[in-house]
Subunit: 141 residues, 2 copies
Amino acid sequence: MISDNNINKYRDELQNKGIQPSFHRLKIYEYLKSVKNHPTADEVHRELTSQIPTLSKTTVYNTLNLLVENSLIFAITIDNGEVHFDGDIKPHGHFKCLKCGKIYDIFIDEGEMNFGLKISHEITEIQIYMKGYCEDCKKSP
Amino acid sequence: MISDNNINKYRDELQNKGIQPSFHRLKIYEYLKSVKNHPTADEVHRELTSQIPTLSKTTVYNTLNLLVENSLIFAITIDNGEVHFDGDIKPHGHFKCLKCGKIYDIFIDEGEMNFGLKISHEITEIQIYMKGYCEDCKKSP
DNA sequence: GTATCTGCAAAACATTTGCAATTCT
DNA sequence: AGAATTGCAAATGTTTTGCAGATAC
């Protein structure tokens, strides 16, 4: 296990939000924190059932929603069909290639992300989605 | 009819993209261009069936997808469940209130929307989504 | 012992698809 | 006539829900 040494940190993060750090929840949260791509609920489930054969999809959905509601992970709705999840909650954008479908992280300077806005709504979350053709697919789009 | 005088313009815009401007397509496109909110496919269908009782949901979906593919309208995926559509294709962001669910337009200076990025992907579309509590709901979130 | 978490199966929901009928040129 | 558009019904795929059993505090 790659990030076993972070388990206690993750447990604390859940507890600080008032979430009981059950075995399943902790595993799902750890998985999202350790992985560098943006898995769907189905992918999280498929990946973790190899370690935890009894893990149900319902629990995966329940837990992911719980984590999103508590701002511990982000839900990425750049796709129409299915939601992707991102354990990296420091502000950044996402780019989806229209050809290969891959989702890339786009690092954006935090100072660039307020757009000089003066609006009266209270903003709790910003998502920036870009689409197009990635470097690899650009030649033949 | 509010924007009858724009019909010829809309017809031209469809034809310039190689889309046959059928009656249904023209009506759907006109509706999206004239409305100031961000209807879902279902809302477009519900609204237009009062004028065009024979209009099917399949045609609404077909047409909306065709318009999106040809960059004549935008698909807004700020919601998980359903896609909203926006006939206003000049760059701007969207804000969704987590309490009342309303989606507001956020006008962003176009110069603010490149984020000083130097990335090697070819970007064809940028969507900026913000969430939080709108002015009206801020008092009791 | 009571509340919470989990899992199964079924339901809900938006969207897509296959195909036949209609319409347009 | 021929090609494109349309509509119905069924299928698809993701996510949610109801409820019973298991687990934890």
